[in-house]
């Protein structure tokens, strides 16, 4: 018994070591944001700031209005996640149940939709959106962001739906459910883990998206934080202290959200395991 408990704590130690090592660059970002400009590039590099310099944080909160940027980021990411899932879930479900050449072709198309780097996609999308009057609007950007995450969501959700036994569905149908009803009442709960994970990933992908937002939103008041970050990259100089502070402010809310939502995610994951 004792050995088993000790074994578990040993695993915790190993896990903590792995996590700490992996997250070191993130620590470096936080530490850099608190260093003075001269210390930032000093050799030998200092692990801890020799003196905490909050000038960068003061700057981004007072002069750059980082809160507004973050609000935009959350708005765009949240809405995109919702729309993406709304479109992807039915599609992935249908693809998991329907097996034919056409569906295979469709899946191929979905895969291919993700190939082009956003930098190359943006010019034609910009042209198209301008014709449709969608530039400089939240709707336009969300639409573009959905095109980016929709193929991903479909590809990820399909295997999850595959793992849900047909029998469950058929049982519900026998009980008088329509196919759609069965989808909502039986399939979605069964694939909850995958959906939650997919939602998280789509949210994070969109939260960190830069190219579409930068090109389709020229009004500063509407821009998300990823674009705001570039306000510190000048023509010849880059303001690294402010960049790191801004990036820290950018990442922290999501990390906090994560920590708060851990319970939900953990529940989702372990629930799926008990079958």
């Amino acid at each position: 018994m004792r050995a088993r408990v000790a074994g578990r704590w040993a695993l915790t130690a190993v896990g903590a070591a792995i996590t700490a090592l992996y997250l070191f660059p993130i620590y470096w970002m936080y530490a850099s944001s608190l260093k003075s400009p001269a210390e930032l590039f000093r050799s030998p590099p200092t692990l801890f700031p020799s003196a905490i310099d909050l000038a960068a944080y003061t700057w981004i909160f007072t002069r750059e209005n980082v809160l507004r940027y973050l609000a935009n980021s959350f708005l765009l990411a949240g809405t995109t996640t919702f729309v993406t899932l709304a479109l992807a879930i039915p599609c992935a479900y249908a693809m998991s149940r329907l097996r034919s050449r056409w569906v295979d072709g469709a899946l191929l198309g979905v895969m291919l939709a993700q190939v082009l780097p956003p930098a190359l996609m943006v010019t034609p999308i910009f042209i198209m959106f301008r014709q449709l009057g969608l530039t400089n609007s939240y709707e336009g950007v969300i639409l573009a962001l959905v095109t980016k995450s929709l193929p991903f969501a479909i590809v990820v959700l399909r295997p999850a739906f595959l793992l849900v036994p047909q029998e469950l569905e058929e049982a519900a149908r026998v009980d008088g459910c329509t196919r759609l009803g069965a989808l909502f009442r039986v399939i979605l709960p069964a694939a909850r883990t995958a959906i939650v994970v997919c939602a998280i990933l789509v949210f994070l992908m969109t939260y960190g998206e830069y190219v579409y937002a930068a090109s389709l939103l020229s009004r500063i008041a509407m821009q998300p934080a990823t674009v705001g970050l570039y306000a510190f990259i000048g023509a010849e100089i880059s303001d690294w202290n402010n960049i790191m502070a801004f990036a820290s402010a950018f990442v922290t809310p999501v990390i906090i959200l994560f920590i708060l939502m851990q319970r939900l995610i953990v529940q989702g994951m372990t629930a799926g395991a008990i079958k």
Binding site: R8, W9, L11, V14, G15, A16, I18, T19, Y22, L23, P25, I26, W28, M29, R42, L47, P90, C91, R97, L98, W102, V103, L107, G109, M111, L112, A113, Q114, V115, L116, P117, A119, L120, M121, T147, L150, V156, R158, P159, A160, L162, R179, T193, A194, V197, I200, L201, L204, G208, T226, L229, A247, V251, I255, Q262, I265, V266, A273, I274, K275
Partner: protein
Amino acid sequence: MPSPARTRTRFTDSDALLPTLVAGALIFIIVFIGYPVAYNLAMSFQEVTLGNIRDFARPFVGLENYQALVADPLFWPVLRNTAIFVITNVVLQVLLGLGLAMFFLQDFPGAAWMRGMILAGWILPPLVIAAVFKWLFASNGGLINEALMGAGLTAQPVNFLSDTATAMATVTFTNVWFGTPFAMILLSAGLANLPRDVFEAAQIDGAGTLTRFTRITVPLLMPTLLAVTCLCTIYTLRAFDVIWGMTGGGPANTTNVLPVWSFQLSFQQFNFAQGAVIATMMFALVILVALLYIRSIRSELRA
């Protein structure tokens, strides 16, 4: 052992619904992605300059752009760099992701927390990741060299990003760091969904850990594994920001990969047509990968 899937479902009357659901999302994709793809494809066959980029009817030059690109001295090096970069990344990300997923699936205090925290690495803007790793890998003043020399492992600093021999490995390392949480979390979800009873039955039957892994876990996880591998391949193929931020394709084009070269051609050298040719080639490459994926899912297992 689970039985292989049936390759056909029974169709009932209400199955007009299913194709409709598929069609909805597909039309969306075709319109908003099909147009950019067609745009690039058309450009690759035309002569495109700043003067005529606004027009749709530009001079048609057939395969001239393709020939010029293949004849460019950079073509084969870039293609080779891309192959190395993509294959190494995919293999490492999937293996590490799987390893981490399995590790954190175990029941020990803080496991779920840590797994969530690792995902934090994926949130960082690529600009920041490139900058931080560039600093960490610097020849003079970089923390990694400090650590290596301090531990006595090397006498001289390793020129991670300034040496043609190590630059590719360094950007690969950074990209693996960046992409592994993604693979890890998807594989975690897949692993969590696996039916426990099969494992228990195998354990009772006396199957060892390795046997359980290879004979049960991997086959059951196959759909997710394949999806993750395919996605990883596509995302790495088009990965631009990390390499651009760290080396700009250098030194001396040793980290120049297809998306970087395409960007340089289109937006630095105003050679839009050749930039579009690269986009088309990337497309063709991915068609191969995606076809493999589609073929492999034919033999998918069902619960």
